[in-house]
């Protein structure tokens, strides 16, 4: 039974660590499926986290914090969109620029306003996204195993966690069952064909970039208003890049993206849990080995040793209308 409780705990923190990955990964999925490569997820996540915390502190409302965080992230996303779509820039360069500017600017502004080395003050409890208790938790208490799973894994998360989990099926539905989704996927594979059909490549790509901004903005807000109660410089700590790895690992598909992010979140939780623990037979596993696992797995996949990750055909290629 103790073993079971430990598992529940690790899975629980795996879910919490997976949520920002899920949102950021789906954000990248929208952008890259439309043909705009996005290695700026890390920077956008930081922007969302900072703006979310700042707006929540100024207004005292979690929802206004969310609105501010998402709005700022969408603006940052549009800068990348403008460079990638209108200026036909190298999208890797643009994403790198976004990461640097966001990393520096959030710390700089935070330090200028609060003079705590870039850290914001603690956001009050009332301006945070707090855990929600789902109905029937107490009724199911008596049921063995399921009761505990329901209480600790399914219930007791904040609203953003449920939103993140809902976004995977919504993304799946929108991409594969709507006209907009079909066109969006087409523009990432063969923009010339979409253009020939009289549909605006530019419009579709900008929509994707905005959706990307909203989703990755939510992941940032989750970091500062749900997982923690403050913003601190560099707090995304590479999560944007893990989300990118997950996107590749999931081969740019929504359901596998959800599963991969949960797996990577679980690995993260496991790494913390196994710190200094002697395992039977294996001995102590270096924490760094587990931390590096998502990256190693992604490289192995990219190398084509387990299946093959093929990105959308036109991703990263600016579209030039024929004249």
């Amino acid at each position: 039974m103790e073993m079971f409780d430990t598992f529940i705990q690790i899975f629980g923190s795996g879910i919490r660590l997976g949520v920002p990955l899920i949102l950021a990964c789906l954000a990248g999925l929208w952008s890259e499926r439309s043909g705009v490569v996005d290695i700026g997820l890390e920077g956008k996540m930081l922007s969302g986290a900072f703006a979310g915390a700042a707006f929540a502190l100024f207004t005292g409302s979690a929802w206004l914090g969310l609105l501010g965080g998402v709005a700022v992230t969408v603006v940052v996303s549009l800068v990348h969109g403008y460079a990638s779509i209108d200026q036909r820039a190298n999208q890797i360069v643009s994403g790198t620029a976004i990461n640097m500017v966001a990393d520096g600017l959030t710390a700089l502004i935070g330090n200028a306003i609060w003079s705590q080395g870039g850290r914001t003050p603690e956001v009050p409890e009332t301006a945070l996204f707090n855990a929600i208790e789902l109905p029937f938790v107490d009724d199911l208490e008596g049921v063995p195993i399921l009761g505990s799973i329901y209480r600790h894994l399914i219930s007791g998360h904040d609203i953003l966690t449920y939103v993140a989990f809902a976004m995977a099926p919504i993304t799946y539905w929108a991409l594969y069952s709507t006209r907009f989704g079909l066109r969006l996927r087409a523009v990432g594979e063969n923009p010339a064909a979409v253009d020939t059909a009289g549909i605006s490549v530019r419009g579709l790509r900008y929509s994707a970039v905005i959706i990307c901004g909203v989703l990755v903005g939510l992941s940032g807000v989750y970091l500062s208003l749900a997982q923690a109660a403050y913003f601190q410089p560099h707090m995304s700590a590479g999560k944007g890049f893990i989300a990118l790895a997950a996107l590749v690992f999931a081969k740019w598909r929504p359901w596998p993206a959800l599963a991969t992010c949960l797996l990577f979140g679980f690995l993260d939780a496991l790494a913390t849990r196994l710190q200094g623990v002697e395992l039977p037979l294996i001995g102590a596993v270096p924490v760094q080995a587990i931390q590096a696992l998502p990256y190693i797995l992604t490289v192995v996949l990219l190398a084509g040793f387990i299946g093959k990750a093929i990105p959308p055909k036109a991703s990263g290629v600016p579209y030039v209308k024929e004249r």
């Binding site: 800068v79 460079a83 036909r88 790198t96 500017v101 990393d103 520096g104 003079s115 490289v299 990219l302």
Partner: protein, 369 residues
């Protein structure tokens, strides 16, 4: 790219447009300083005084510039082959391991032959760590951007493990190796100049600077004066055409990434062998990423890279002084400037082309084509 952009005179292409791009980056930076309630002109004054106002500041500036010449060259050489190596940070980190292992464990080598071996080891380790993404790009078509990003984190985990659990001196709190022996370090200028009767203040500025200049010359000669350089540029411009010219893009990709990783090793030479004299956790401090800004700003040409590296040296050294004088303008401001340079000199490099072309066409009597 060129289909919609009007041709510009050569001077505008080489000087005016890059200057406009960088000016835009600094203009926005000035607005940021203004927005946080400080005077940008005063900030520039403090920054420049701190960076080049006295010999000590200059020493630090050139020490930073040395690092940036190496990382800038590492990024730039890949640009020429059409590759984007974001992994300079990780390659330099692992190169530090090579430098440290050689310096610590080959102490039997006489005199300064030890440091030469240590420099070679840094280059070798950097190249070896770059080899895997290079090979995967060349032979298995895995995108080098993604793999090098992943390799940065793998390097960080690997080095973290080695420094904390393996290389750390027993009983030491800090995750670092012990000090290198005297023969295993690159001498600093104040020591070298003392016997000559020249007094140079004690700064980390060391002989690696000369190695960096030599590397810049070497890269220039390689890219524009050798057969290999021609092949690298051909693959960069059009890999398909290169195949028809009898060039193997896969081979060029591997060779270029190896050279890039070796150049990244220069960061370890300057910082680890030249200043720290021991391997420390996360010593690269983002300098590998500065190389991206330097390479873009210097337009991947060694002369441009040296100039851009010195500018970033000024920013890093002067920025430290500035943060001391004006706590509101923390060192994060330098990261912002760096990012804006990448944005305007890299991503938005063509933004000013059309207006400039229109303006120039109007001024000359020639009718626009």
């Amino acid at each position: 790219m060129s289909t919609s952009v009007r041709a510009l005179p050569a001077w505008a292409d080489v000087a005016l447009i890059p200057l406009l791009n960088v000016a835009a980056a600094f203009f926005i930076s000035g607005l940021v300083v203004l927005a946080i309630g400080e005077n940008p002109l005063e900030a520039v004054q403090i920054l420049i005084a701190g960076a080049v106002g006295d010999l000590e500041g200059l020493g630090f500036t050139l020490y930073y510039a040395t690092s940036f010449i190496f990382t800038g060259l590492a990024v730039a050489i890949c640009f020429h082959a059409g590759l984007f190596n974001i992994g300079v940070e990780g390659q330099a980190y692992v190169a530090g391991l090579g430098a440290a292992l050689a310096s610590l464990y080959l102490g039997f080598l006489p005199g300064y032959s030890l440091v030469i071996v240590a420099i070679a080891a840094a280059a070798l380790f950097g190249a070896a760590f770059a080899a895997i993404p290079g090979y995967l790009q060349a032979k298995r078509d895995s995108h080098i951007v993604i793999t090098t990003i992943m390799f940065n984190y793998i390097a960080s985990a690997l080095m973290g493990y080695l420094l904390v659990d393996v290389l750390r001196t027993p009983g030491q709190m800090n995750a670092e190796t012990r000090q290198f022996p005297p023969g295993g370090i690159v001498p600093q200028f104040h020591e070298v100049l003392k016997p000559l009767g020249i007094v140079w203040p004690v700064t980390p500025f060391n002989l690696s600077f000369l190695l960096a200049l030599a590397a810049a010359l070497g890269v220039w000669a390689l890219i524009w004066r050798t057969r290999l350089g021609y092949e690298i540029r051909t693959v960069g411009v059009n890999a398909t055409a290169a195949v028809y010219g009898g060039i193997s893009p896969a081979r060029i990709t591997v060779i270029t990434t190896l050279l890039s990783g070796a150049l990244a090793g220069g960061l370890a030479v300057n910082v680890i062998l030249g200043e720290e004299h021991r391997l420390i956790l996360e010593y690269t401090a983002g300098f590998g990423f500065v190389g991206i800004a330097v390479a873009l700003m210097g337009r991947a040409h060694p002369v441009g890279i040296i100039l851009a590296a010195i500018l970033f040296g000024v920013l890093y050294q002067g920025g430290a002084e500035l943060a001391f004088d004006k706590p509101k303008i923390s060192r994060d401001m330098i990261i912002v400037i760096q990012g804006l340079v990448v944005l305007f000199a890299g991503a938005l490099e063509h933004m000013f082309r059309r207006p400039v072309a229109v303006l120039l066409a109007r001024r000359t009597t020639q009718p626009p084509i």
